[in-house]
Amino acid sequence: MAGAEILRIEVVYALPDTQHVIAMELAAGASVRTAIERSGLLQKFPEIRLAHDKVGIFGRVVKLDDGLDDGDRLEIYRPLVRDPKEARRELAARGKTMGRG
């Protein structure tokens, strides 16, 4: 992956009713922030606030200044609807855990 001059990546913003997948090519060395800015998703979805919302690559949260590898899927996440504390209480009552992995 390292050493590729052109990075072929995808930027994804997934909503229940429309999942937006933007395929793009970037010069090697491009940052997460650059990819998201070039995707056009920020203009289309003003509710995305990069300073606040988390972003990641294949489920692993990354920082806006991080680099990208060829083949990465850059994902812009949305917050949970449910209050996690409340969810944990309900799960405990049912004898289940949120667990790890």
């Binding site: 949305r78 917050p79 949970l80 996690p84």
Partner: protein
């Protein structure tokens, strides 16, 4: 054998659902090719796949799909009930084709076009927030075949891409661990060498003293 397995794999729907009892469609194809298993163990493929497999292998399709493997509704995809999702990532780990977007404590969402309908995400969910429902064409920005061989190729490509990524991540994890062990080993080596040097010095001094029992300046000439 491999060529036959390739041709069998090309007939399978690539849902990667494991209903057949094998870890993926490819492994099932290989098992059919060697004669280790029957051709009627693919519920997603249904009658169509069964007939094609019978034609290719010369075996009989008379028994029909094994009813013990559960039904399968083509065209159904997983959907997450958002008010219930706790962001646990278990479904993401279970998905064989990276069809679910999300991270720890973030909302998880199924990219409909990528979902093979395998249902492997459903059992791991601790809050039962995943349902199967007919696909609605909600994915934008991807050119996606909706059925047939082209769709199977699309699913296979995504399954392989995920498998390759997981293998790469594991190799990187192992390399990191080895580097760490090497660093720890090197540190231990240095400590051991210094201890040996000190012990050798102490031994030299003792040997010297043994040769000259009287303390310097304390003896008579």
């Amino acid at each position: 054998m491999t060529v036959l397995a390739d041709r069998i794999d090309a007939l399978l729907p690539q849902t990667q659902c494991r209903r057949c009892g094998y870890p993926d469609c490819r492994k099932y194809a290989e098992a059919i090719a060697t004669g280790a298993t029957d051709i009627n163990r693919c519920p997603p493929g249904g009658q169509e796949t069964l007939q094609a497999l019978a034609k290719l292998t010369g075996r009989t399709a008379a028994a029909g799909i094994d009813p013990g493997l559960g039904g399968f509704t083509p065209g159904h995809v997983a959907v997450i009930i958002e008010p219930l999702c706790i962001g646990c990532t278990k479904c993401i780990q279970a998905c064989p084709v990276d069809a679910i977007v999300g991270a720890a404590k973030q909302m998880h969402t199924v990219i409909e076009a990528l979902c093979t309908g395998c249902e492997l995400c459903i059992p791991p969910c601790p809050v039962d927030c995943i349902r199967m429902q007919p696909a609605r064409g909600t994915t934008e920005g991807m050119v996606v075949p909706v059925s047939g061989n082209k769709q199977a190729d699309f699913f296979r490509a995504h399954y392989r891409a995920r498998s390759a990524r997981l293998a790469r991540e594991q190799t990187e994890r192992h390399a990191r661990l080895r580097r760490k062990e090497f660093a720890a080993g090197a540190r231990e080596e240095v400590i051991a060498r210094r201890k040996a040097e000190i012990a050798a010095a102490v031994a030299r001094v003792r040997a010297k003293r043994a040769q000259q029992p009287s303390k310097p300046g304390g003896g008579s000439r």
